[in-house]
Symmetry: C2
Subunit: 350 residues, 2 copies
């Protein structure tokens, strides 16, 4: 590939959002294509990830880690192809998953690059089913959810990147799976393809009381495991229908991210229910499981070969769409993993 | 003991409390002294327990188990002496812990009676340090708290029946222990005798914001384990100061019992913090550990012999005081385990 008439482009994070994150918080800049040093690879992005955690990191009160610094390339997971390698483990043309952020070209330490096998599944799944969301779904459910066959699993954000994997794993494990999502289209897909026995469209049950009634109908034996991607009023209803020794896995609280981290949102107290039910709530994050990526890949690849699990992706085309794609996550405009697909001419000099 | 001029007395639970439980919800009645059948023992109560869980059971919305039935003897733990035995494992004069409730005399299945050893500690501890509260404290901290030497343990309701044991075990395990209690007298005792390195008098820090500042001073390295007996605004502050992978043990929510079970009290949402910190919240109840009472007795008896742990008891004298003693729990009028001590003449015919 001749790089002479190509240019690097990068989205620079320049302003902290107060509410929703959008294009105004970024600046698109051009830059030279870097050269790899010894032990590094030069990667050209093919698929770039947008994830809810990015919004959390952008807040100064995220209570988690240092906030994402301003005036730097927006961090994020990338699937790309190796253009040039100065490490013997990688060759030109290899597909890799790197955390190089929102830029078209990046050099990256070969030690921290993960090689992808295009024979298992399309490489875009390296930031989806066979990447961070897959790892979070798999270990979150297995380690914190402690699932048992015959139990009832309820998943909020069930049609999302992580949720759509959790529902399928729950089904593989022999659980009764109830998916909560925000459209009839999503609910149909959850039931027909993604392992859900019942679904609840939260837009048709838009109060905690209505949600509780819907849960009682969809989960008549109560809830044993709840995999929470949303938080807020949906979770308020869940807590009122849990069984003794239930496990609540907190994987996301997307209702609480956009501008609410600095404020205090009130909700009904429920720790007395957790007490009465001797339930467990556990917060999980990919970073707790990232060292076990290979274990997840082995199991999920096997399920893929057996036809037991599917990957669902929503593609947005074009590098220039990244900020808008991130914003889309907070409006539920995706089914499965939301991926920005880089176009062939995205790196052309203008 | 001649029973001829003696009489049984029983407190009958007759009315569900709407707010605080008090004498009006009970009726004192006299009854004949029963005779044991084969496999039973006749026990005369010496110490009768009042516990916060009784108030939960009295609510029809306790979300836990069937509410305590009306027009029955109030349930509860008792330490008594065997008056007559129709089981070879017990002899007249043996001390036992039975769950025979608020009555002076009761027959009880020998299979469900626990023999107490008066050489280890005063038998009143059979409903305290060496009974249900001890078991709850020990396994709650060990199993759900997963304590490690050098970590910071914060205990709310630290001067109560369970709290005063948790603080001491934390200290034995080499933790930095911070006790939260409601008077300077309790705080002094916690520091001088009950293993606390620091204490916080919540009446001097009576808002979540003030409590958070006090916690930052008392637990400068953050909170690794929180043993919660109170809930409410104190716990709101705790959540804001937890460390990554913190464990929150929910053993009681005494702020939520009196009449609030039917209403919904609002508080700040915090599951996003549990998520960011990958923390665990676990509700625990004695019944999950009751089958391991012997294991706790062995360990705590050893600590007693080694002078590493103390029992703290507040005695209220007289069978007629039981309802008032139960009410006292909700006003923090006890240090350690609140026990009603039966007087010698309580069972005399009037």
């Amino acid at each position: 590939m001749a790089l002479a008439n190509k240019i690097n482009k990068r989205w620079i994070y320049i302003e902290r959002p107060q509410t929703e994150v959008n294009e105004q918080h970024y600046k698109l800049e051009q830059a030279p294509i870097p050269s790899p040093q010894l032990g590094e690879i030069l990667v050209k992005a093919q698929f770039i990830s947008v994830d809810p955690y990015m919004r959390i990191q952008q807040s100064t009160s995220n209570n988690w880690e240092e906030p994402h610094p301003l005036n730097r390339v927006q961090g994020g997971g990338v699937v790309g192809v190796v253009i040039e390698s100065k490490d013997e483990r990688f060759q030109k043309g290899d597909f890799v998953n790197v955390y190089s952020g929102w830029q078209l070209y990046a050099t990256f330490s070969a030690n921290r690059a993960r090689k992808l096998d295009p024979s298992v599944a399309p490489v875009s799944t390296g930031i989806g089913l066979l990447g961070m969301p897959g790892c979070t779904a798999y270990f979150g459910l297995m380690e914190a959810g402690k699932p048992k066959a015959g139990e009832t699993l309820v998943v909020s954000g069930a049609a999302g990147a992580v949720g759509s994997i959790v529902t399928q794993i729950g089904n593989i494990l022999g659980m009764r799976v109830v998916g909560i999502a925000g459209s009839s289209e999503k609910c149909a897909l959850l039931k027909e393809e993604l392992g859900c026995h019942e679904t609840i469209n939260y837009k048709e049950h838009s109060t905690t009381k209505m949600m509780l009634e819907a849960l009682k109908a969809a989960a008549p034996n109560g809830i044993d495991v709840y995999f929470d991607n949303t938080g807020g009023w949906i979770t308020d209803a869940i807590v009122q229908h849990i069984n003794v020794h239930a496990r609540l896995v907190i994987c996301g609280q997307i209702t609480q991210y956009s501008g609410k981290l600095d404020e205090v949102e009130l909700g009904p107290r429920f720790l007395h229910i957790i007490f009465f039910k001797r339930a467990t709530i556990q917060g999980i994050l990919f970073s707790d499981f990232s060292h076990r990526m290979g274990e997840m890949e082995a199991q999920v690849s096997q399920w893929l070969r057996q036809g037991k699990i599917q990957y669902k992706e929503t593609f947005v085309e074009g590098f220039q769409m990244l900020p808008q794609a991130l914003n889309m996550l907070f409006h539920g405009n995706n089914i499965g993993k939301l991926v920005v697909k880089i176009k062939d001419n995205d790196d052309e000099k203008e």
